[in-house]
């Protein structure tokens, strides 16, 4: 009796989580994929449009707003990748120096504790053309200084990138720091004895050794970029015009402002596909790492 109970209770305890997974994730994703093949507008229509099942996707790719969103996604990904570089440089310096490690780490990480809405308020204020950095630099004598990035469609994306680098560098620094600490310190003494310069140790030994950490950071960054919504809303609210739209913004906009459920679903499905493209290498890599670890155990 006791044994049987011990088998059934865990399964009962798991029931809520299974229910949530099947309804709120699997079911909901299936529902949205289904919707993307229908002619739903404000309200869902539960009939697949067999005559033209891909009409929503066609509309999507003919929409200038979606094209801008995809371009911005790539710009944002490339720009935000700087956060990984900054994170590595900071981590390498902190790890070499050791002095003041806690203080530096605390400072570099605090932006992560702050809401992106607050981040947007702060950076919009810094970039304010009347009273912000522009006027400060002009007072210092740089008359042609121009930091009115947010109101120019050509530069608004860069303002978002700067704010998101500021926000996320500390995160990558923390991951890199953990990676650097896992490296055997004997490498340093070995390199010193051989007279290898510091730069070469980093470029030829440390960075290749940390390729897994770098890959993790790159994948997390890409996933974060796909999800980027709050920062765009807080910095520019998509503007000027549609110049800072990203897929996450497009999807929400299609749903709430345009009230077009079919189109929003198609955009959401494409977001999921982009996520999968980024995500599958991670799964493969994790599986591969686990297999390596298991081999290491048996050997």
């Amino acid at each position: 009796m006791a044994l049987r109970w011990s088998r059934i209770t865990p399964q009962i305890a798991l029931a809520p989580a299974v229910g949530v997974t099947l309804i709120a994730f699997v079911g909901a994703i299936g529902w949205t994929i289904f919707m993307s093949f229908t002619r739903s507008r404000r309200l869902p229509e539960y009939v697949i449009d067999w005559d033209n099942p891909f009409r929503q996707f066609k509309r999507l790719f003919n929409d200038a707003g979606w094209q801008i969103s995809l371009q911005n996604l790539i710009v944002l990904a490339i720009g935000s990748a700087l956060a990984i570089v900054v994170g590595f440089i900071l981590a390498a310096m902190i790890e070499r120096e050791r002095r003041g490690e806690d203080a530096f780490r605390t400072v570099f990480l605090y932006p992560l504790a702050v809401s992106l809405i607050v981040t947007g308020v702060a950076w919009r204020w810094i970039l304010n053309p009347q009273f912000g950095i522009e006027s400060v630099l002009r007072d210092f004598g740089w008359e042609s200084a121009s930091f009115n990035w947010l109101s120019d469609p050509a530069t608004a994306m860069y303002a978002i990138i700067i704010a998101s680098i500021w926000q996320s560098s500390g995160f990558y620094m923390a991951l890199m720091l953990a990676g650097l600490k896992g490296i055997n310190t004997e490498i340093w003494s070995a390199a010193r004895i051989d007279g290898v310069s510091l730069w070469r140790v980093y470029l030829e030994i440390i960075i290749p050794m940390m390729k897994f950490t770098f890959l993790t950071c790159a994948i997390l960054l890409s996933l974060g970029v796909i999800k980027a919504f709050d920062i765009v809303l807080a910095m520019t609210n998509g503007g000027p015009g549609q110049s800072t739209w990203v897929p996450a913004y497009y999807t929400i906009n299609a749903m709430s402002a345009k009230g077009n459920l079919g189109l929003a679903s198609a955009a959401a499905v494409l977001m999921l596909l982009i996520t999968l493209v980024v995500f599958l290498p991670l799964v493969a890599l994790t599986a591969w790492q686990q297999r390596l670890a298991r081999k290491g155990d048996t050997a």
């Binding site: 989580a17 709120a24 002095r99 992560l112 679903s265 977001m271």
Partner: protein, 295 residues
């Protein structure tokens, strides 16, 4: 040998110079990171007359608390001009049930998957791992329909429900990874000792979960407090969290914009997670590492 004797006297000097350069660089980077916070703070204590003169980095000539008072009691978010405090209390009321529900759901799930012999645990874990990466947009509309059907849409319950759903995969993985290192002998002995699933959980597992609970608690407090999208989507008229109030306050600009009030409002929103961060920073770092690396 001779090489080594030549190298040794030179080495301390060289490393010292380099380490000063590194420290200077790190300090400058740290100052740059502090600029946005510094600017928020000084602007929030300035009077509008001084702000109009530019010079955003200068200290206030006369320190004033008026912007803070105004932001808290009188600032307008949409048509409602009762300040940020309504949003603050909404956020507090959202935070408590969201924390309890999300942690309760995932700690039990993580415990069951890590320590009990459930045949389908492997595939289920993999499914959770996949769910942890799903973009919110693809499940957003179905969740709206679901909460409408449940009759909770627009309420605090709906926001807490969605927070728990979205956090469940990743939190479960964190708890499961923590518990799977408990030796199975311990659980076997506990079962022999007529311990049931729930008794083992309450008497053995919970008392040893202190560390991971603090990590998860901090992770959840910051992410729930800082959330905007769930609050704005699932919150009703009187249930929107502080971030939504702040966003409305700073984007709706009728007449002259009171920058000092906006900055004070932003700081008021940022203070609770910042306090937690500066007091319990170590756990925060562990939390983001655990939340990031997963699997």
């Amino acid at each position: 040998m001779t090489d080594a004797t030549i190298m040794y006297p030179r080495k301390p000097k060289r490393i010292k110079g380099r380490s000063i350069a590194v420290l200077v660089f790190l300090t400058m980077a740290a100052l740059f990171f502090c600029v946005p916070l510094y600017v928020l703070i000084v602007t929030s204590f300035k009077e509008m007359d001084q702000i109009r003169e530019g010079a955003m980095f200068s200290l206030p000539t006369t320190w004033t608390l008026e912007p803070w008072r105004f932001a808290w009691f009188e600032a307008c978010s949409g048509l409602n001009c009762s300040g940020l405090r309504a949003g603050f209390w909404n956020s507090v009321v959202i935070l408590v049930p969201s924390l309890i529900a999300s942690i309760a759901l995932s700690i039990v799930t993580g415990y069951a998957l890590a320590l009990w012999d459930v045949k389908w645990a492997g595939p289920f874990l993999f499914l959770l791992f996949l769910c942890a990466f799903v973009p919110f947009q693809i499940i957003m509309y179905p969740l709206i329909r679901l909460t409408v059907t449940m009759g909770i849409y627009g309420s605090i319950t709906a926001i807490a429900f969605v927070h728990s759903v979205l956090a469940m995969p990743i939190l479960t993985l964190i708890f499961r990874n923590y518990y799977k290192d408990i030796p199975p002998e311990l659980i076997k002995a506990a079962i022999m000792d007529s311990g049931s699933f729930w008794r083992i959980f309450v008497e053995i597992i919970l008392p040893m979960s202190g560390n991971i609970l603090i990590v998860v608690l901090i992770l959840q407090i910051t992410s729930i407090w800082n959330d905007y999208l769930i609050g704005v989507t699932f919150g009703g008229l009187g249930t929107k969290p502080m971030t939504v109030h702040l966003a409305n306050m700073v984007t709706v600009s009728t007449g002259t914009i009171s920058y000092n009030v906006n900055m004070a409002a932003a700081l008021l929103t940022a203070i609770p997670p910042l306090v937690i961060y500066f007091v319990l920073g170590k756990f925060f770092v562990q939390g983001i590492a655990a939340g990031a690396i997963k699997g």
